[in-house]
């Protein structure tokens, strides 16, 4: 099962390789990984999506907590959380196709961020389902390039149970 882990770390130079090395060294799997600074100086937040059975996820969480530079690990999977990913897609958009691509842009409320003679670059933000859906739809026009940020996520303020 897919899990989204929110990992708060001390922002020291080796921290990314400590985390990544832990996953590769112990044979855990990383689907996406995103890192950036937080509002607090000296702390960065990593969002890692991974998969495995309960036992594996429990080990991943514990092993992450054991790293000396990791401050906090939260498995967002069983909490109410918001989850987003941003994707830039350069898609073929010639003649007839162009209008249709623009229609999809409209329906999915994405943005056109670069325009060329025969291609458009789109910015799409959404959860995994939305991104999967739009990538699927655009496939038939021919996707030239694609860059994804990986999932970022935060716990919702209101947790219902």
């Amino acid at each position: 099962m897919r899990h989204v882990l929110s990992v708060l770390v001390e922002n020291e130079p080796g921290v990314l390789s400590r985390v990544v090395g832990l996953f590769s060294g112990r044979g855990f799997n990383i689907e996406t990984l995103n890192v950036g600074p937080t509002q607090e100086e000296g702390l960065s937040l990593m969002t890692i999506t991974t998969s495995g059975d309960e036992g594996i996820i429990e080990q991943i969480v514990k092993q992450l907590r054991k790293l000396v530079t990791v401050v906090k690990v939260v498995d967002l999977t069983h909490l109410h959380s918001v989850e987003r990913e941003m994707v830039l897609i350069k898609v073929n958009a010639e003649d007839a196709g162009r209008a249709e691509v623009l229609r999809i842009v409209d329906i999915f409320r994405c943005k056109v961020v670069d325009v060329g003679h025969d291609a458009l670059t789109l910015e799409i933000t959404g959860d995994q389902n939305k991104i999967k859906a739009i990538v699927n739809l655009l496939q038939r026009f021919g996707i030239k390039e694609l860059a994804r940020t990986g999932t970022v996520a935060l716990r919702r303020s209101m947790q219902m149970d």
Binding site: G14, S17, G21, K62, Q63, R65, K66, V68, T69, V71
Partner: protein, 564 residues
């Protein structure tokens, strides 16, 4: 007043009460060596290979419970310590490794003797640091020692670029450490302890399975009290030997691949397994699904990752082993209705003792060739558990564990998790440095001893009177045993052709050498060796194809043992 990085480092070591440094110099650390004579309290032991330095620091740490310190230069000096760092990591031993590094402006340039030791060592240290500013040095060293010895102990490496060692600042030595990202959980949860007390009341066949964590937490007394007052038999891992008195009637011996029949049978039949400071390693469990199949499992460990890593646990307790066992004792005293625990478990104990009687550890004696087990028995008979025993790796290590008995923690030093050949001799040097008046014996194999034999020069030059007893079977015996049993006796690359004359080798180094070939001479020669003033090698020519039994083939259930 301003001080250089090198001076600050030494001052930090002094403040940590370091009294021994095992090291080897080089260009990147000359500044440290330059100032070392101003700190006579920091006794430096010049080894002959950096692997010797890290194992000696490790042996010092295991024997004392204090942090061992190792100092080496950049590049090859640093990489030579890696095996020893991994050894300490696998066995949770507190050591601080100080490595030189090229000056910061050169880092990343493939400079002379540059190596990314922080990157190389990352998977086998508890934590590591590259010092980039001399103003950070004092707190980094403070943290390094704190991390090494607290929680689940382990090696911590500090990489020291040469320009940082030369840079000057007015140092500020921190008195204490707080880290928001590191807070080991030490206090046991009372509710969980109460559950254990309840399980003790409900069970009929409890068993303590104790590990190295009992030793690192200093929990031997608590373990012994519980075992004796409740009448619960104890088995332990290789790492746990010494935590429980080896002459106690409740002691079953080691469990696992080369565990005793009684210990392995007890695991097979227990209905309450009390795992304390152990981690269910594959050499201990054999086939995991048949390990303690009838038991509820209580697991006490300071490291949450150890719990439920390999087996399911009914009552997990993340805590310091000593605090947890103490808490359990209080719980039992406070709320249990049971008054005569030993009577409650007596039928179980009788069963266990029957297993012990039916299949004790045994071997067939012969006058010539000498049986290696006989030599270990003699060592024990002469030392009565008063010596510190280290081992190399292989059959010698298993026989040392089986046929000697250990009565106190920190008297049996062996590379358990990594199984590092060449560990025993330098570790013995480290232990002897910590306890100059104790008898320190390395029970060695003819293969392993050659991996760090160069440290004989260290032992001779500081007159460190370690006694090495080589169980010389002319083979990489443990590998040969596997070839015999599982590979049709295809003894490829395990015969030690052209072993040196170990007696002459000892003499060449300026040490003393003895050779024994007949069982009748063993006791006398060992006595002479132990009484001799300096370092000694005793070369005991033993039966070449003797095997270690019992043996649980890899992946088999613990109760499926091959016996003598």
């Amino acid at each position: 007043m301003e001080q250089t990085g090198a001076q600050i480092l030494l001052e930090c070591l002094f403040r940590e009460n370091v009294d021994a440094i095992f090291g080897f110099p080089g260009g990147a650390v000359i500044d440290i060596y330059h100032h070392l004579p101003s700190y006579p309290a920091l006794r430096h032991y010049l080894v002959r290979h950096e692997q010797g330095a890290i194992h000696a620091a490790d042996g010092y740490a295991r024997a004392t419970g204090r942090v061992g310190v190792c100092l080496v230069t950049s590049g090859p000096g640093a990489t030579n310590t890696v095996t020893g760092i991994a050894t300490a990591y696998m066995d949770s031993i507190p050591v601080v490794i100080l490595t030189g590094q090229v000056p910061t402006p050169l880092i990343g340039n493939d400079a002379f003797q540059e190596v990314d030791i922080v990157g190389i060592s990352r998977p086998c240290v508890k934590h590591n640091y590259l010092v980039k500013d001399v103003r950070d040095l004092a707190w980094i060293i403070k943290q390094a020692f704190y991390l090494a010895r607290t929680g689940r102990p382990g090696p911590v490496l500090v990489d020291l670029p040469k320009d940082i060692l030369q840079a000057k600042t007015v140092p500020n030595y921190p008195e204490s450490i707080t880290m928001r990202s590191y807070n080991p959980h030490l206090e046991p949860n009372r509710r969980q302890l109460r559950k254990v007390a309840g399980l003790l009341q409900d069970c009929k066949r409890p068993l303590f399975y104790s590990g190295g964590g009992v030793i690192s937490a200093g929990a031997s007394e608590e373990l012994t009290w519980l075992s004796r007052n409740l009448g619960i038999p104890v088995t332990s891992t290789l790492m746990g030997l010494g935590a429980f008195p080896g002459d106690d009637p409740l002691w079953l011996g080691m469990l696992g691949m080369h565990g005793t029949y009684a210990a392995n049978m007890a695991v097979g039949h227990t209905d309450l397994l009390l795992a304390v400071g152990a981690r269910f390693d594959d050499r201990v469990t054999g086939k995991v699904s048949s390990f303690a199949p009838a038991a509820k499992v209580v697991h006490i460990d300071v490291d949450p990752t150890s719990i439920r890593k390999n087996v399911n646990v009914d009552v997990p307790i993340v805590a310091d082993c000593r605090l947890a066992l103490k808490g359990l004792r209080d719980e039992i005293m406070a709320c249990a209705e049971e008054t005569d625990w030993p009577a409650k478990y007596r039928p179980w104990l009788e069963q266990v003792q029957t297993w012990q009687r039916d299949h004790p550890l045994q071997y067939v004696f012969s006058e010539e060739p000498i049986k290696p087990q006989f030599v270990v028995e003699k060592i024990y008979a002469l030392t009565k558990g008063e010596a510190i025993i280290t081992t190399e790796v292989g059959q010698n290590q298993m026989w040392a564990a089986q046929f000697s008995r250990f009565h106190r923690p920190r008297t049996f030093l062996t590379s358990g998790g990594l199984g590092t050949m060449g560990y025993g001799f330098p570790a013995a040097i480290g232990a002897q440095v910590a306890f100059p008046d104790k008898l320190v014996i390395d029970i060695a194999g003819d293969g392993s001893i050659q991996m760090n034999i160069q440290e004989m020069a260290t032992a001779v030059s500081y007159n460190i009177p370690v006694k090495i007893v080589i169980l010389n079977n002319g083979y990489l015996g443990m590998v040969r045993q596997w070839q015999e049993l599982f590979y049709n006796k295809n003894y490829c690359a395990t015969c030690m052709h052209a072993n040196p004359d170990f007696v002459k080798l000892a003499e060449a180094y300026g040490a003393t050498g003895f050779r024994v070939t007949r069982a009748g001479d063993v006791e006398d020669i060992l006595k002479q060796a132990f009484a001799a003033p300096g370092p000694v090698i005793v070369d005991v020519i033993v039966a070449q194809e003797e095997n270690v039994y019992p043996m649980v083939p890899a992946g088999a259930a613990l109760t499926d043992m091959l016996l003598v």
